[in-house]
């Protein structure tokens, strides 16, 4: 298959992938920096490139509610949001997962208020990490495009039937033009395929009437939550299959997490999203100087691949986990907590420290990552250090 080499912003790339997936319905409400993605998709609809029914709603709560109604009929459905918009749809975000509806939603990551800030950090999606959605994280425009194609195969798999959230950094990825390879429309469609209306259930199947979202009290709620957990446990196997198939098709091979120069690394940085790209450049330069440092970039944060991560990080001496969100009053950031917990049962575990960085879009440049690596080196040599640290903030 011959792919097309183009220059697109992250938002344009994701809109293109969604056009190629031919969704039936897309409820939309604008919020920076997601807005451009829906603009672009609306262009495709207006130009007749895709016949998706767009529902222009009055809030994000309504956008997700409309998505739920649509997906419950069996229609392939997506919406997209950021930050405060994600916060406003909070209640229904949980319901989408509870009803096991395969909705796909880019969360173009942006700081939560207040004070109001339109720039990138991960506080929006991290707040929703226990909502029951599959969460996939992207480093750049290419990864955002690829995941926007793959998400349908994952969400709509009959053994999964869960909503998928695709995270990519606001402005850094969403508004930056990058070159990437996209699939021709027909090849993308061949990969995604039509939604199998026989999987899951449909409110429009009048021969099999159902009740969706009934009152669920002390007698069954607990069992239904466990059933959701079981579905999330089944997801990794299917995500791995989709990654494999996509890799064979495009040459771009994904896994639950990417290990960059970690083979002999004493020091390993763990990060999500675009910061991983900056870290790779710094790691290349540090490797030139003989510093044994590597990067572990997580694609699949929910479900959390704890066992695989523990194995991958078991050889390191010091692990530095970068969190682009704060857990107020908590013990380190959310990514740090998960990683540290995953490593707890290792017979000999590395030292694990946390760096909170980049809140509200504070630029995380190469100098900051160099400084982080220097601290990891010092810790490896036995220097005492705080468990939870800050990067790039004035104190």
């Amino acid at each position: 298959m011959k792919q097309i080499y183009v220059g697109l912003t992250g938002n344009e790339a994701v809109a293109t992938a969604f056009k190629q997936a031919r969704p039936h319905v897309a409820p939309a409400f604008p919020i920076t920096p997601q807005t451009e993605m829906m603009h672009k998709f609306a262009d495709f609809v207006a130009d007749g490139a895709v016949d998706t029914e767009m529902i222009l709603v009055e809030s994000e709560h309504s956008a997700m509610s409309a998505a739920i109604g649509s997906a419950a009929t069996g229609a392939r459905t997506f919406t997209a949001t950021s930050s405060a918009g994600f916060a406003l749809m909070w209640e229904v975000v949980y319901i989408a997962a509870s009803l096991r509806l395969p909705i796909c939603m880019p969360v173009v990551n942006r700081a939560l208020s207040g004070n109001i800030n339109i720039h990138n950090d991960h506080s929006d999606a991290m707040g929703g990490r226990d909502a029951g959605w599959i969460q996939l994280w992207c480093e750049n425009t290419q990864e955002a495009y690829d995941h926007a194609l793959m998400c349908w195969r994952i969400a709509e798999h009959k053994d999964v039937c869960l909503p998928v959230m695709i995270n990519y950094d606001g402005f850094i990825i969403s508004h930056t033009s990058e070159s990437l390879h996209i699939l021709p429309d027909e090849d993308a469609w061949k990969f995604v395929g039509p939604k199998d209306l026989k999987t899951g259930y449909s409110l429009l199947d009048v021969d099999h009437p159902i009740t969706v979202g009934p009152l669920d009290l002390t007698d069954y709620y607990f069992e239904h939550k466990i059933s959701q957990i079981e579905a999330l446990k089944r997801a990794p196997q299917h995500i791995a299959e989709v990654y494999k198939e996509f890799g064979a098709l495009t040459g771009r091979h994904y896994s639950f997490f990417e290990e960059y120069r970690t083979d002999d690394a004493d020091l390993v940085i763990v990060a999500l999203g675009s910061t991983a790209g900056t870290a790779k450049d710094v790691i290349d330069a540090q490797r030139e100087k003989g510093v044994k440092v590597g990067l572990l970039k997580i694609h699949m944060f929910r479900p959390f691949p704890a066992a695989e991560l523990a194995k991958a990080l078991s050889k390191a001496k010091v692990v530095g986990v970068m969190d682009k969100s704060a857990s107020f009053g908590g013990w380190g950031g959310p990514l740090f907590n998960e990683i540290r917990s995953a490593l707890y049962d290792l017979p000999a575990r590395p030292k694990i420290h946390n760096w909170i960085y980049g809140l509200g879009g504070r630029d995380t440049d190469t100098k900051q990552i160099v400084a982080l690596i220097e601290q990891l080196q010092a810790i490896a040599k036995g220097r005492e250090a705080e468990t939870v640290n800050l990067l790039g903030v004035r104190l």
């Binding site: 509870s98 009803l99 096991r100 509806l101 259930y201 159902i210 009934p214 069992e223 239904h224 059933s227």
Partner: protein, 102 residues
Amino acid sequence: MSLIPTSSLNEGGIITEAGNAAAFKTGDWRSNVPQWVPENCIHCMFCWIYCPDSAVAIDNTGEKTVMTGFVFEHCKGCGICAQHCPPAAKGKAAIVMVRDEK
């Protein structure tokens, strides 16, 4: 009703039976209870029509459908049946609400 385990549940908690209210016994929290006075009953079926649950028992196997009493496993004591019970026919209502002493 026996409770089914997680492994046998429909995904998403959807209910595939059109009417399953009869399976849920919900009549254990009323404070008032309807009392049927058969000699006053003209079997108009108003109580059966207006009951928001399925708490009015009837027998429709004979020539004429008749009311036969209440199913207290479903009655929440709302009193709608008593409100709609027409006393005009025999001068006295066939359903009166009393304090549930149980």
